[in-house]
Amino acid sequence: MKSEKLRRLVALPFMMCCATFLLAQQVREVKNLLEGNAQAIANGKANFRANCSQCHGLDATGGLRAPSLVSGKFTHGASDADLFSTILHGVPSTLMPGNDLTDDETWEVIAFLRSMQPKSEAVIAGDAQAGEKYFWSAGGCASCHMVRGRGGRLGPDLSRVSASRSAAYITESLREPSKQLSDGLLEPGHDSPIAGDTVTITISSGEKIIGIAKNEDTFSIQLLDLQGELRLFSKSDVQSIVHERKSLMPRYTEAKLSNPALQDLLAYLETLRGE
């Protein structure tokens, strides 16, 4: 009797697990039957604009709160089944919510997103090894950026940069680093973009401290200074706070980083997917 009960207790989760597994297998094989369908793409676009554009931008190229969906790269899975699940159920622990769409509407949104993607991403012709060398020495990238626990703190951690950023986006970040400033993603719990803003603080002695704002509110500011140290202030204790509205990242112009060297660097960054 006791063992029978025990067996049932074991069997139930096992069966549930198997069913989930089989279901997952089935879903993974699902292809979007509406891909390329002009009407579906038009419907998907309208639904995208109504449901997704507030965060991902009207043309899906990214907005204040969420990344571009036309780069061909998706942090939470790029298959049709992955997109279907992400759109309907959201991504736990992120700002991405589940959406109130029917299955058909969801497939239409996916058809729209696929229609916006580059047909095939330009092959990066560069030498990843040369790019890696540049990153860690002559380029000075590692003085501010961390990769797998090595490197500086001031800039974003690049360990998985290519999982969500296209080569075009990274190229723009290198050539025109201040252009995407307002693109700073919102941190959960914040309603205004603050991360990554360059700030100059003049403290009471007259000394100027430059850094990246990690947080700020009406009465205080928390800074990571150029030396990579945290500097924490009450606003009442400082003389002035200036938001520079430009990135601390230097411009990597063609004179500084030639196009072939850029290709090498992109080839290296392409390998950084957090895998």
Partner: protein, 535 residues
């Protein structure tokens, strides 16, 4: 002997105190709510008093000692979601709602649970803006709240037991409630949410004793009713006009002032040409039968989601040597309005925040539009954005300073319009809006002189705030910011005198109350309520 008589004396005092306690513990009556300003130790209705002032007569905490204010208790709830409710307080007990149609009664002096109401909610709720609720109304030994699945319920104020539970509308069709009800006489009055789902808006009154529907006012006039012609074709059947923020009431005129929200779909007017009555309006209703006495529409044929759902404030004032009964509203469209509340006539209106859509208001208060502000497929930048120059966050009025205090926002959106087929109960917006890039949100506490409509002072927050306001007889205004601070301001000068970081963005409005001779200021933020007093 001497000892004995002093004990007798103490016992006598105790008996007298008990008598007083019984008096103050008297049931909440309509008379008490009408005269709520005479018992500032309690907070008996959403805006403190029927006139919507959110002004506390308590003055233990003043501009001189507010810097000493200290947390007395923090009450944590396990319910996550935005905290938008205004707590009610009667006789040392605090009643408040939280997200997901949950609610609590707690000891307002010690922060301890008395009861917790949990509601089993269906899964597929249609919620545009979070699973929020803005609080209770009370009468007798009952508290009244609305629910996300579109019911109105009455709970026993001592136990939280459900006395009645009335279904007002069908949540599957996009109807929901977030509003704090208003009790007027023997009725509990509520307005519906769902302007993003193509509903037909309404304001309802229920019998406080039985929960039976007493009257319903449809905020979109049906065929044959005056105003019906302000809708093109059958667009009125899905025209929105919700009523999701609590109104105010003038017992002398026996008029209820209730604000209404946007026409649907909010961004695309191509199939609803006309003024779209009574969207974005103040409605003056007879609370006994729901009959419309007058209306004033702020934004006719709105294409920018500028609900007029901001609490109207009622004051009596002298304008051009004449005593006037006035209604004040800082509207989401960026203009501050003063109306004659006896007849709805426009008195004055001026912008109080950045706006790029109107040249001004005409003699009747109707906006004179600038060209090129209608949403297009590509998108058109307009200020204020869809969240408006203010929103549901409660303003306040101090008779001490004669100033109107409102949380104002300066943020612009790119509005786009696109065709969208209507489907029952589904989002019906007609495309969308996105923030203008490279422009930071700015937010202020703005003090407006209602005699002129001009701002007396502005305090700039970091970022745009969603917090409501409270004015007090101690010469203070309390509000909060997106960084999570509860802040005390000098009501005259706008100087920030004190702040406390609650740790979560503030969406609620502060209240003040008194227990055992001590003045408290309380605010909901995150999943908690915080209460402060002088040491």
């Amino acid at each position: 002997m001497r000892k004995r008589s002093s004990r007798q004396f103490l016992e006598n005092i105790a008996v007298v105190a008990l008598l007083f306690a019984n008096i103050s513990a008297a049931q909440v009556t309509t008379a008490r709510i009408e005269d709520a300003s005479r018992e500032p130790g309690n907070w008996l209705t959403y805006s403190g008093t029927y006139d919507g002032h959110r002004y506390s007569g308590l003055k233990q905490i003043t501009t001189k000692d507010v810097s000493q204010l200290a947390a007395q208790w923090v009450f944590q709830t396990p319910v996550t979601g935005k905290f938008e409710a205004t707590p009610l307080i009667d006789d040392g007990v605090m009643y408040f709602t939280v997200a997901n149609s949950n609610a609590y009664a707690i000891d307002a002096q010690r922060g301890k649970t008395i009861w917790h109401y949990e509601r089993a909610l269906p899964e597929k709720l249609r919620l545009c803006c979070g699973a929020v609720n803005r609080g209770f109304a009370m009468l007798g030994d009952r508290v009244f709240m609305t629910t996300l699945d579109a019911h109105v319920i009455a709970l026993d104020s001592k136990t939280g037991s459900v006395i009645w539970d009335t279904k007002a509308a069908d949540y599957e069709k996009g109807y929901t409630f977030t509003v704090a009800p208003l009790v007027v006489k023997d009725k509990v009055i509520v307005g519906v949410s769902g302007g993003e789902y193509g509903i037909q808006g309404f304001i309802d009154a229920y019998d406080t004793k039985t929960g039976a529907l007493a009257w319903r006012f449809h905020t979109i006039p049906g065929p044959g009713e005056p105003g019906h012609g302000s809708w093109e074709g059958d667009s009125w059947t899905r025209g929105g006009a919700p009523a999701w923020v609590t109104g105010t009431y003038d017992p002398e005129l026996n008029l209820l002032y209730w604000p209404t929200g946007n026409p649907a779909p909010s961004n695309n007017g191509s199939q609803r040409h006309g003024d779209n009555l009574y969207s974005n309006s103040i409605l003056a209703l007879d609370p006994d039968n729901g009959k419309l006495k007058w209306y004033f529409q702020f934004t006719p044929f709105d294409l920018h989601d500028w609900d007029a759902t901001e609490s109207p404030i009622l004051i009596d004032s002298t304008i051009d040597g004449q005593k006037r009964k006035l209604l004040l509203q800082a509207n989401r469209n960026g203009f501050f309005y003063v109306l004659d509340r006896t007849n709805g006539k426009f008195v004055l209106g001026k912008p109080y925040a950045k706006q790029t859509w109107a040249k001004g208001l005409d003699a009747n208060g109707r906006p004179v539009l600038l060209p090129g502000v209608d949403p297009t497929l590509e998108g058109v930048p307009v200020c204020p954005g869809a969240y408006g120059a203010t929103n549901f966050m409660a303003p306040s009025y101090s008779p001490l300073t004669g100033l109107f205090y409102v949380t104002s926002r300066e943020q612009c959106d790119v509005f786009s319009a696109d065709s969208q087929n209507y489907r029952l109960g589904r989002a019906y917006i007609g495309s969308n809006y996105v923030p203008v890039m490279n422009a930071k949100d700015r937010g202020f506490l703005t003090a407006i002189d209602p005699k002129t409509g001009d701002a007396r002072w502005r305090f700039e927050y970091f970022g745009a705030s969603w917090a409501g306001t409270l004015s007090t007889a101690g010469g203070l205004v309390f509000s909060g910011d997106i960084g999570g601070n509860l802040i005390a301001f000098d009501a005259q000068s706008g100087k920030a005198l004190w702040h406390f970081p609650t740790g979560a963005a503030v969406y609620a409005a502060p209240v003040s109350y008194e227990v055992a001779g001590k003045q408290y200021v309380a605010i909901g933020a995150g999943n908690a309520v915080f209460s402060f007093a002088l040491p």
